[in-house]
Subunit: 261 residues, 4 copies
């Protein structure tokens, strides 16, 4: 009886994709929820996000689901604010709460990049100037070797036309952004911000922070004259080394935002 | 009897405009007082104001009145420091307390711009250099789209002559400043600071903060080479989107300055 | 008997000026001690001083005495650390405590400038670059109008030769510095720092802070192109206005460093 | 019996240098442990180190041993995290804890420089740009006179080839770095960071901090035009003076990180 009803509902909802409420993949590992909550607070504490920006993690029980907070300032996120989304970025159960307009960034990148397990979108300040100039963001030290030697820039005007509000506010724009990201770890968004991807929450937070640091230091270095950047070989070797070290700053950052006030 | 006396006083005071104490429009919504107090502390916390600068809100019971603190550092403002002013910037009841020399900024803009409900005047640091150079402040990302593509600069020397103290210290200077602002949201003041206007306290604080951020980021971007600014169409679309989002950072900023210490 | 002994000692010490312990002018107004202690902590809180730098005030009972801490980090200064000095910068009663090597900055300026009641010496960071380049520090906004249009630079190499340690470590170097300061409010010291003078503790702290702010903002403005500086007439008018407002930031700054932790 | 066994073990281990556990030089002065713990927290508080970077001190009982934490974020270091190493950078008793990959920086410099008693390795931000450009780091004020007029840059590519991960991860690379440092106090590492050496913990922390400050200020000064740097004679005289003053900021910094929270 119940099965029948659900099937009927499923058939019925198939014609109403925008209203369809996807099924939950079940409760994720509580550790994953904790990590994404801590990541929100860490990114705010590090100045990578302010009142805006978001971080998500792929569901551990189902690669076709991801976890991210409802629409709110990252510094205020708690476990009860974390929602489950399918890869079309429809919330499993929004309970009437507002969602991020740009959740499609996450869903479409998770579709296009099976290797990606965590994503940060931010307007981190030092990165913005590199998104609006011809100067490319490049790694000037080993901490940002994960960027590789070529950081792409996504020009939304090419896809959304000359009168967009610059937001990745639907699936097709998310697809275009994922295409610009390609197989890289960072993509800049002209006049807007950037997206960083990784294989875990600690790693993607590390990357979002050191992309910002690199932008700040590269900007200073350029003013001093010709810059020696890391070579492709150096970035590859260094990124491998650093991947084994991401828990060191993570433990520090986590401690700072979780200690009793 | 009492009515007669008041009328007689009114007639008498009509000949003494500088001494005339305007009538109160009555108690404003307590929420408005709370918001303007919080705004003072938020702006200080964000570094938009230091010991100087002020924020006002138009009275909800009478468009010919506005609310602003007595002359004091914004970070220290409490509800009892908020005074009511008419649009000539005369306090309804100053009780002997010192008033801001530049309150005419507020009164004259409220006269000239019926759409404006809240105003911030500050010396926010990154904006200052744009007021003294030929480089125009322009939106480099969506957060500052409210500025539009043309931010005017008010040169007080053109109005007050070569020996002013740079302050908007009377009505005619306020009128000139309001004229320079025209229908925009921000006006820079050469050798002094800037004024930001909005339709609510959360919106004007958002604007004052992101005007400062834009100045800081634009300054960095210019050093990297030619900059792609937002187009007029993009600023229009983006500003509309952002107007619906101003409560998100406001809740965060408010939380920071109101949590028990 | 006692008088005779003291007189004999006085005669004896007259021949040993370096060892002579000057007489005290008596206890200063406790308010003055409190202000100089607060000024030390405020200047540290504002980043004008770090582990180095000092602030003094002329004694209210005797213009030939001044008050300043023993040699220590400003942020740690308490009332019991304040010593009395004569204008040769000999401590009235050092009680074996170490003195600042550069106390002669204070004594010699108090000698040369009867109008000066308070002095700050610091290495405030943004000012340093202006002391080592040909670009002159100039007021770009009204807050720094006290500087006037010409901020002198003291080149110690001209007086101490090519192998000095850059410190104003004796009376003659203090005399040379006071001569470079002339009738101004600020003098930069090449490869070292700066000195700011004023007529009160709140005013000199205001000046030390806004000299630093001006340097930071002027440096940014120069990168944007030709800068419109305040004219001599504007600085004069504005400085007069600001002198009446120094208590506003002072109350704020004082509150920050004296609130219970 | 026991002596015999230890001797036998010694002979045995002589053939297995990588696995040999060196003998302890005995318990160091507890003050030294405290100082190196405080130095870790001070360097983090000053922004010289973040999640990465390390500080060591030569053992007071044996010049062939040094003390440094296990691999962890400096801000979290406690006395129990401090390990003893021989100059080949083998831990006396690691107890299974992870060691810094770059501990060879310390061991090889202690070998090459008997005068050095304390070493800091960091990625302090303002110094990075000077390691990747042709502009040399030079003292622009007396606080950084310890650097002398020539700060060398270590290009690891010359030693490790084009595909290194930029880390000084073995003895030979440590030897090459020590050779680049020569008899100086600071050496920059291209695309990586810097190393500062000194004769005590307070002095090396002072140097690491003011090398960072100098880089920041020199970068600003260069933008203002031709810079007057300290001469060799001035750096020599000033460094001697400053060496007697390092306890002043140390007491301040120590207070900040050790006060009850």
């Amino acid at each position: 009886m119940r099965t029948f009803t659900l099937l009927a509902m499923g058939l019925c909802l198939a014609g109403l994709p925008a209203l369809a409420q996807p099924r939950s993949a079940g409760a994720p590992d509580p550790k994953l929820i904790e990590d994404v909550v801590v990541a929100n607070r860490v990114l705010a504490d590090l100045g990578v996000v302010d009142g805006f920006g978001h971080v998500s993690v792929r569901h551990d029980k189902d690669p076709n689901r991801y976890l991210m907070s409802r629409s709110m300032a990252p510094a205020l996120v708690k476990a009860e604010d974390i929602l489950e989304y399918d890869l079309d970025s429809t919330a499993v159960d929004a309970k009437g709460r507002a969602l991020f307009l740009e959740r499609f960034i996450h869903g479409e990148i998770y579709k296009a990049r099976p290797d990606v397990k965590a994503i940060v979108h931010s307007h981190s300040p030092s990165v913005i100037p590199f998104g609006v100039s011809k100067t490319r963001l490049q790694p000037i030290y080993h901490m940002s070797s994960f960027m590789g030697v070529d950081v792409p820039v996504f020009e939304i005007r090419d896809v959304a036309g000359p009168a967009s509000d610059l937001l990745v506010r639907d699936g097709p724009l998310g697809v275009a952004l994922a295409k610009a990201l390609a197989d890289k770890t960072v993509v800049l968004m002209r006049g807007h911000g950037s997206v960083t991807v990784g294989t875990s929450i600690p790693q993607v937070v590390f990357r979002a922070y050191y992309a910002e640091m690199n932008a700040r230091l590269q900007s200073e270095a350029i003013k001093l004259g010709a810059v020696t950047y890391l070579t492709a070989e150096e970035t590859a070797a260094s990124a491998k080394t650093n991947d084994a070290l991401v828990m060191r700053p993570w433990e520090l950052w986590k401690r700072k935002v979780t200690k009793p006030e």
